[in-house]
């Protein structure tokens, strides 16, 4: 059986995920996305993974959500509230969502995962640090290079070439 914390967290996560997509203003939408990501961090805490939860909070809620907020503030005001979408496409999307939920849900409930439970102690987070510095250290270095190159790429993409000495050319 699920406990009340789990129920509250799932309502928060799913509800704010729907709100992030459906709220009219993009700014409130990105705040709702922040709530979704914090809800997922709460699930990580329930799963005895405090290290991943803190990483999620600092990377997703701390940096990605703020980055999205800044990008939203860079676009024109009427685009933030703009909601052009096809009615038929929308109903088809809702149908696809329900079919996916019910389909994958019944498959999972029917599978053998239902009886899977554990009484063993949680994984120690010191083990994760050890893994990172021993077995996964080449992967860690590659990940650092990917992060650095993606940030350089993002900066190169977003750079304006028409700005010379603070004056716009257009």
């Amino acid at each position: 059986m699920v406990d009340s914390v789990f129920l509250a967290l799932s309502v928060l996560t799913i509800g704010s995920a729907i709100a992030a997509l459906e709220i009219r203003s993009l700014i409130y939408g990105s705040i709702a996305l922040m709530l979704t990501l914090s809800g997922v961090a709460g699930f990580f805490l329930l799963l005895d993974a405090p290290f991943v939860a803190m990483f999620q909070l600092s990377v997703y809620v701390g940096s990605i959500a703020v980055l999205i907020l800044f990008t939203v503030m860079l676009v024109r005001r009427e685009l933030i509230f703009n909601k052009v979408e096809d009615k038929r496409r929308r109903y088809a999307g809702i149908g696809l969502m329900i079919v996916l939920m019910l389909g994958i849900g019944t498959i999972i409930i029917g599978s053998g995962l239902k009886t899977m439970d554990t009484n063993s102690p949680a994984v120690d987070y010191k083990k994760i640090g050890e893994d990172f510095l021993t077995y996964y250290s080449p992967a860690l270095i590659v990940m650092a290079l990917i992060l650095a190159s993606s940030i350089i790429g993002a900066m190169t993409l977003a750079r304006r070439e028409d700005v010379i000495d603070g004056q716009r050319a257009d």
Binding site: M1, V2, F6, S10, I14, A20, L21, L26, G29, S30, T36, V40, F43, F44, L47, A49, F51, V52, F55, Q56, V59, Y60, I64, L67, V72, R76, N82, K83, E85, R89, R90, A92, G93, I94, L96, M97, I98, L100, M101, I104, G105, I109, L113, M116, D117, T118, S120, V123, D124, D131, M143, L147, S150, I151, G153, A154, M155, L157, A158, R160
Partner: protein, 101 residues
């Protein structure tokens, strides 16, 4: 434990379905990024849940890698949105049909 593995997986399925709905229906580029974020988060939730119930630390390690890669992906995605906005003065993906420079 109070919660079984299947509860976490069902929440993850719901998040995945909502993310796919956002990707399929929304025409706003930033809202499509929201959908991508939800899909990535449901995958991470699955990884951590299985790593708790097997139990094995590899799932958490992979979740950490996945979060870091998702951060890089969002940075590049938002830069692309900014470039497209500068080019078309719009963030509607129906306007991004021509990919000329």
């Amino acid at each position: 434990m109070a919660n079984a593995l299947i509860d976490f997986i069902l929440v993850s399925v719901a998040l995945l379905a909502i993310g796919i709905y956002g990707m399929a229906v929304k025409r706003n580029a930033i809202r499509m990024l929201f959908g991508i974020e939800m899909i990535v988060n449901s995958a991470n939730l699955n990884l951590v849940a299985f790593s708790r119930y097997i139990p094995n630390s590899q799932g958490q390690t992979f979740a950490l890698f996945s979060i870091a890669i998702a951060a890089a992906e969002v940075a590049v995605g938002l830069a692309l949105v900014i470039v497209a906005y500068r080019m078309y003065r719009n963030i509607d993906i129906a306007d991004f049909r021509s990919l000329k420079g």
